[in-house]
């Protein structure tokens, strides 16, 4: 049976969908057979991030309503043959997509795949419950901002009520220069306050703004290294963490931080 991971956050806009997409790509680069499921009914974006929005023939609602087989709804990635996407329903009519129905789909997928990655919607309402109830592991994505960590804290309290094997923490969009100057919280601060060791720390990088599915592009950047470390941690239980502040230490580091602020 494959592992069923859900990426959740509470707060919207912290990078759940981007994280799902890139972790899916990274795991397939590591030889795993991966399917990514968009659990955000109505405000779905996983298909856009993965650049398959023009290939959507069937979605999760069609599978639930019996209009197609599960295999027909899966979209194979063009660059990574072991990576598939199950797109979400674009209309906000969730009457048929109940938590048991959704769980049944995820359980079926886990038989044929090494990893099922679920992109959880923002918030803590029925969509959150539907996504988390289907998963066996959860990763809470947050950014080093007070509102995001506050929401992550509430989500973690809710996740303790589910029978999850593991709850991990991913701190996204960390600015190493701001951490050094004390303007931004460190991942250690967040870890202590949430009482959870981070599984991954991802630096902030403008290249991700341009290409959300950065892992498939040939651009060399820190974000790709950090995401690959996170994927390896998820796959093999390692505890390596990417140091976002390394580039901003010492004389040259401080100069780089100053230049970054100027431009």
């Amino acid at each position: 049976m494959g592992r069923k991971l859900v990426f959740t956050s509470g707060k919207g806009g912290v990078g759940k969908t981007t994280m799902c997409a890139n972790i899916g790509i990274a795991l397939s680069m590591l030889g795993q057979k991966v399917v990514m499921v968009d659990a955000d009914i109505g405000l779905n974006n996983l298909d856009v991030v993965m650049c398959v929005e023009n290939k959507v023939a069937y979605d999760v609602a069609d599978v639930v309503e019996g209009k197609c087989r599960l295999k027909q709804a899966l979209i194979q990635d063009a660059d990574f043959p072991s990576l598939y996407i199950l797109p979400s329903f674009h209309n906000y009519d969730t009457a048929n997509i109940t938590a048991p129905n959704f769980k049944s789909i995820i359980d079926t997928l886990s038989v044929g795949f090494d990893f099922v990655i679920i992109d959880c919607p923002a918030g803590i309402d029925s969509g959150f419950h539907r996504a988390v109830a289907a998963a066996s592991e959860a990763y809470v994505v947050t950014t080093p901002h007070i509102s995001a960590v506050r929401d992550a804290d509430k989500v973690m309290a809710l996740l303790n009520g589910y029978p999850l094997l593991n709850i991990g923490l991913v701190v996204n969009r960390v600015r190493g220069d701001m951490v050094i100057s004390g303007e931004m919280m460190t991942a250690g601060d967040i870890s202590r306050l949430l009482r959870c060791t981070p599984t991954g720390i991802i630096p902030d990088d403008d290249t991700v703004t341009v290409n959300s599915d950065i892992m498939r592009h040939n651009t060399e950047c820190e974000v790709k290294q950090a995401i690959m470390i996170l994927a390896e941690n998820i796959l093999s239980g390692k505890r390596r963490i990417y140091d976002c502040t390394d580039d901003y230490r010492g004389i040259f580091g401080k100069l780089k931080a100053r230049l970054k602020k100027m431009f």
Binding site: P144, I146, V149, R150, D153, K154, M185, D189, L193
Partner: protein, 80 residues
């Protein structure tokens, strides 16, 4: 001029306030438990137990508990 707090310190205060005000209603639980404890020793006047929970500038929880009693009990017997 307003002193700039470290983001982590400010967040700690926010998280502690959230927990104090959470659905479990800590203040009400504290008040009920305090009343039960105090009634073993004192003849409390009606509605006399008051609790206060707040966070100070050092991010420590101030716990205030006040009550008024008409008399002292000893072994459950009211002393006259």
């Amino acid at each position: 001029m307003k002193e700039t707090k470290r983001p982590a310190d400010r967040l700690k205060k926010v998280l502690m306030i959230d927990k104090l005000k959470s659905a479990s209603n800590l203040e009400e639980l504290l008040k009920n438990d305090a009343r039960i404890l105090l009634e073993n020793y004192f003849e409390l006047t009606a509605g006399a137990v008051r609790t206060g929970l707040n966070i100070d500038e050092k991010n420590l929880i101030n716990i205030e508990l006040t009550a008024k009693a008409a008399n002292i009990k000893r072994f459950g017997i009211i002393l006259k």
